[in-house]
Symmetry: C2
Subunit: 300 residues, 2 copies
DNA sequence: ACTGGCGATTAGGTTTCCTGATAGATAAGG
DNA sequence: CCTTATCTATCAGGAAACCTAATCGCCAGT
């Protein structure tokens, strides 16, 4: 016989432990901080053991709390997934996907209508955001991320790998000055992408690898890859682009690769989602479609 | 932002769905049936969809309810596992194992002191029961079962395979009448084990396979394998035994195998437990130990 | 037709939970 | 040093959730 403490106290603990703050937990659950404080006292009394250390400088979890927190998260995730299954919902239902703005505009959105065709009853809500999202906070079903993979407590499935290529507007190739070989980059404006985290090629790295002796820090910088590409399309200079993002512009001849000097990267695109979300048919459909699209796009 | 219905209603649903009876759910949760009924109404109102079909002939789940139920079970399992982790408990803690009485007495209990040596701080509670148990109802962490495997919604790991052999007290071999070959069984008392489900060799099946023409239904019957073995030790006749259960008596020469005619069976011993239980260190230790012991015992 | 088992329903009481106010403690800023 | 902001703890009172007890209707098996 399963004996559980008051369930609301568990939910409060899950939120408080995740935020490491009673106030933010209270905010999330739409109650006052006092309520959370009381619930935690009740829970700790029930257990006979403390869950939080109330240090003057902030809250932290005891070992017991630390150990239990992931299970609480996973447990409530499961319940939430179950609840969504209950809402029979012959009506339209929604999949929310969190994705970086550039990947959304350059890769995902152009393909979305194909998903709509396959699943007319499903609405996709694209939540474009630079930051990693918290699946418990925001109402996000699945995320697409570019990085090294291996996201803690979540299922990560590799979508596609990526390579870095230089791109520019076609006019620059035979312009004045011309752009025929890497050394010509010394005379070009370099456009920089600051959105990439460590581990992805920068101009400085690329130039060094290509043997071009030149300061790779000149030129305009953008914090979104899509802006970088649009600047390149507008002929503002030469950019280092992630191939998957540039491919549409390359195929439309709005961009060209001046010289083929690919830099593969260990980073890849990943679909990331909490285990419990896979139980929702609409989410499962979307993930399956994503993987199929990526498969098709991958061989280039 | 995760929006959940009243958690108590979900718990009530999980119990009601599992029992397919409001009364039994009420019993389990120690409330009145009316309370369950109300909770279900609240939940269905909240969802805007029915979860149960109230047929005159009994309760059944709607499709939505059916789909959601396993998630509720799993969700509460996770929460329960988390709660157990909270109770830091440097004190002694307990692993409850459900096992058939014969296997308990003939295999598990003789080895338990070795587990105690390895984990002195852990207490093992052996819950011997013929029936399959319900992990949610009873407070059982892990079960050992003899059968075909593949238990729904639970993790099943194969412990060891099994073979069926005839056994008897040593004195019967050269007794009067003697017991030298299968045909001599016509003159012996056959002891029957009724505890085995379909698919495990009976005397009738064994005699037919061995080409002995004889009615295999004579003789005393027991509903527990351990009683069968003890009758054989006492010289009451010849029994068909599961090797794993008889091995201790064979090694001690209280029993012998009159002629080697093994019958392998597709059934095997399995450790079975809910996924969430694996998170508990004491349960994980016990399962690991079980598998190691079985490994050692298996080669015979 | 009677009886027992099961679920639905209602009114009313009990427990749980939350609020709002208050206090203490800390850190940043003037 | 004092102010302000932020955070948690605590308490009393009230709101909301929850449960009981009693009753009804329905069916099945005496």
């Amino acid at each position: 016989m399963r004996k559980l403490p008051p369930l609301n106290a568990l939910r409060a603990f899950e939120a408080a432990g995740r935020h490491l703050s009673f106030s933010r937990a209270a905010d999330e659950l739409a109650v006052t901080p006092g309520a959370i404080s009381q619930q935690m006292r009740i829970l700790e009394d029930w257990l006979g053991a403390p869950l939080f250390r109330r240090d003057p400088k902030g809250l932290s979890l005891t070992e017991a709390g630390q150990a239990a927190l992931p299970h609480m998260r996973e447990g409530f995730d499961r319940l939430a997934a179950g609840v969504r299954l209950m809402k029979a919902s012959d009506g339209p239902c929604r999949v929310t996907v969190s994705v970086a703005p550039s990947f959304a505009s350059k890769w995902l959105v152009p393909r979305l209508d194909r998903f709509q065709e396959l699943h007319p009853q499903l609405d996709v809500y694209v939540h474009a955001d630079m930051n990693l999202i918290d699946f418990a906070d925001d109402d996000v079903d699945v995320a697409i991320r570019f990085g090294p993979g291996g996201y803690e407590g979540l299922i990560s499935e590799r979508l596609m790998s990526e390579t870095i290529v230089p791109v520019c507007a076609p006019g620059l190739i035979n312009g004045d000055p011309p752009l025929k070989e890497p050394d010509d980059l010394k005379n070009q404006t370099l456009i920089h992408d600051d959105s990439n985290r460590d581990g992805v090629a920068t101009w400085a790295m690329w130039l060094r690898a290509a043997g071009v002796d030149c300061d790779g820090n000149r030129g305009p910088r953008f914090n979104q890859s899509s802006l970088v590409l649009e600047a390149a399309v507008a002929g503002k200079g030469v950019a280092l682009a992630r191939y998957a993002l540039a491919v549409a512009d390359l195929e439309a001849a709005r961009l060209v690769i001046p010289f083929n000097y690919e830099t593969p990267t260990d980073f890849a695109y990943w679909v990331v989602y909490p285990e419990a979300k896979a139980a929702l048919p609409e989410v499962a459909s979307f993930i399956a479609w994503l993987k199929a699209e990526a498969q098709e796009a991958e061989p280039k």
